[in-house]
């Protein structure tokens, strides 16, 4: 058995072109993709969203205090004295100014560019696609929102958010603004309860709400993991091709004639696939990590989990190699078989999300994709990178183990009995 593994590894080692392909190419791709997509998706230092927001202010701030006073007296039936005191207090709060401050704050500066425009102009620009959305501050906004805050009702007028069509950019903006309004109301509420005389509205932090409490999953991490797994898949095709060569060059016959159990041949293929996949993925991950700092400041537990998952993937892929090897030994046309193997691998790669992030694909394809070994691996690793929670990887691990056993069984079942091999 050792001889079989040694032979396979040695032959692979001799094939420098192949070796360079599976080791260097994924790293190059990670680098290239990383830089190519840096402007699009980056989520750390660099900003990528640049939302063009038109703000149309229809509120007359100068009139606001008079209107508030009027409302308090007429609608809330407060005495003149009481109303005056509240208006006095409200004088220091300028909701419209707060909104502008928020939109132009340092946090949001990178995301949003504010254009103060007339409504008609703004509408045209949005239609032309120059702007992403319009925020309208309606007439009476200041008075209404202050009134609402004091009496604890929801305001009768609210900000209007308009957009031409729903895009991820504009909906992101909506959630920012929505967050602001909630926050504003909340601040007023607090203030009222505390009865603080000097309202200091704290700005909410800009940006998307974070999913849970985990780390973010970066594009660089995605590329590293996806390329590693993709080229591991290609390795399986290579192993199958080399089996084809062994058959064509008659060495398989010679092996049969040595009386060594042909199963050794199959298991040798599986073990060498495991070795190759492990070497390859770990190499790609470690080199990418050192070049791009893919997984900064992660715990030992994280790395152990990562390696465990890579081992699991290598097992599954060795099962796939067993199936391919067994088929190679059975078919008449090895070239056709190799072509089909490559197709299967590419298919796995595509629907498993190794070429493009899986959520770009249609739903039904995503569902199938999550059943491919590489797809499962990606899903599992994405989870692990974000949450580092054992519970979330148990199910995919069991599934992967199941697929490994299934593949191995198919490989063993298809493997031709001694003497029957062509």
């Amino acid at each position: 058995m050792r001889s079989f593994i040694k032979k396979d590894l040695l032959i692979f080692w001799r094939d420098r072109k192949e070796l360079a392909t599976v080791l260097i190419l994924p790293i190059l791709l990670v680098l290239v993709l990383n830089f190519a997509f840096a402007g699009l998706f980056s989520n750390n230092e660099q900003s990528s969203l640049d939302l063009q927001l038109a703000v149309v202010n229809q509120d007359d701030v100068a009139e606001a205090m008079a209107r508030l006073n009027e409302k308090l007296v007429n609608e809330a039936s407060l005495g003149d004295q009481e109303a005056k005191a509240l208006v006095e207090q409200a004088n220091d709060i300028h909701p419209v100014q707060l909104l502008f401050d928020f939109l132009e704050s340092e946090d949001l500066n990178d995301w949003v560019t504010v254009h103060k425009l007339e409504e008609s102009v703004a509408v045209d620009k949005v239609k032309e696609g120059d702007l992403d959305a319009i925020l309208i501050i309606p007439d009476g906004f200041t008075a209404e929102s202050l009134y609402a805050a004091f009496v604890g009702e929801s305001p009768a007028t609210t900000l209007e958010y308009k957009l031409e069509k729903e895009t991820s950019n504009s909906s992101a903006l909506y959630s920012i603004i929505h967050g602001f309004i909630d926050h504003l109301n909340y601040q007023f509420a607090i203030q009222e309860i505390a009865g603080a005389s000097e309202p200091a509205v704290k700005l909410p932090e800009g940006g998307f709400e974070k999913i849970g409490a985990g780390e973010t999953f970066t594009m660089t991490q995605y590329f590293t993991v996806a390329m590693g797994a993709l080229f591991a898949l290609f390795l399986v095709a290579t192993v199958a091709t080399k089996t084809g060569v062994e058959i064509r060059e008659q060495v398989f016959n010679r092996i049969l004639l040595t009386n060594s159990h042909p199963m050794h041949f199959l298991i040798g293929k599986m073990v060498s696939t495991i070795c190759l996949v492990l070497l390859q993925i770990i190499f790609v991950m470690i080199v990418s990590h050192f070049i791009l700092d893919v997984f900064p400041d992660r715990s030992i537990t994280f790395w152990i989990g990562l390696i465990a998952m890579v081992i699991l993937l290598s097992l599954v892929l060795s099962g796939l190699a067993a199936v391919f090897t067994a088929i190679s030994l059975r078919v008449n046309d090895i070239d056709a078989a190799n072509g089909i193997f490559m197709l299967v691998i590419l298919l796995f790669g595509i629907i498993g999300g190794n070429f493009v992030p899986i959520y770009i694909l249609p739903n039904w394809l995503q569902q199938i994709g999550e059943w491919t070994p590489n797809g499962l691996f990606l899903v599992m690793l994405t989870d692990w990178i974000q949450f580092e929670e054992l519970s979330s990887i148990v199910k995919p691990s069991i599934l992967l183990t199941g697929i490994f056993l299934l593949f191995t069984m198919i490989g063993l079942a298809l493997f031709p009995q001694r003497g029957k091999a062509k």
Partner: protein
Amino acid sequence: MLETINLSKSFKGKKVVQDVNLYLNNGESVGLLGPNGAGKSTTISMISTLIKPTSGEIKLNGVNTIDKPGEIRRISGVVPQELALYQELSAYENLKFFGAIYKMKGKELEKGIQQALEFVGLEARQKDLVKTYSGGMKRRLNIAAALLHKPKILILDEPTVGIDPQSRNHILETVRMLNQKDGTTILYTSHYMEEVEQLCDRLYIMDHGKIIAAGTKAELLSILSTEDTIKVELNKMDETFVEYVKTIEGVRKVEASHSQMKIIATKGSNLISKLVHLAEKHHIQLINFHTETPSLEDVFLHLTGSKLRN
């Protein structure tokens, strides 16, 4: 020690080997001669257990090998027609791998490898990758790989096809040595008449999947004809001499013209020495004579109506 009984093989209903009966005695060197496509490789594949016969039996020392291929695999070495080597490995690495899966270990394996390499004259280049070898060297290594486990029977399938004369001689010499010095039983397949004539004690001639003739070379030649034709050139012609020649035992027909005589006689009648004797008596000098003996080529032609090499 090894025999086949009505061995037959069909591929998709087409009979490629039909009722082949052949045997190998211990220490013999046997040739299997036939044109391309005769079914030699198929026969050998069945004997070496790589493919199963459609019908018929193969017996090793009386035991059927078809269901129990272990023993024949253990004691036989097969040199396939195609190279069966890893091109990406060196000669040494190839032999080490094949030796290891023959369950040879350590010193025994190392010694086996070096002996095999020495036998085929490749010790000097053993560290080079096979893909850098010439065709002849690859063929020699192909043989070495079959010798590692010191087989009692060596089966060679056209081991000299398409290589230079030097390598060819080397291979023929190697096979002869194995047979004569080590007592290895040889089954040698070829479509080259000369090789089989040189190497083999006995031979089988195969065509269209059937054995059409078998025996020693002399036996095969005698199939062709029971007569020899002898042409004699004399310094003078003598009527009485001609009459005397006609009375020699075995002579069937004499044609005389000018100074030449053509004598047709039964095979093996020891005509020449009698002829020489007679001529001396009549004071006639024999200037020149030659026997027109049929070749195996002629035998093949006679049996099949076609040439051996096409």
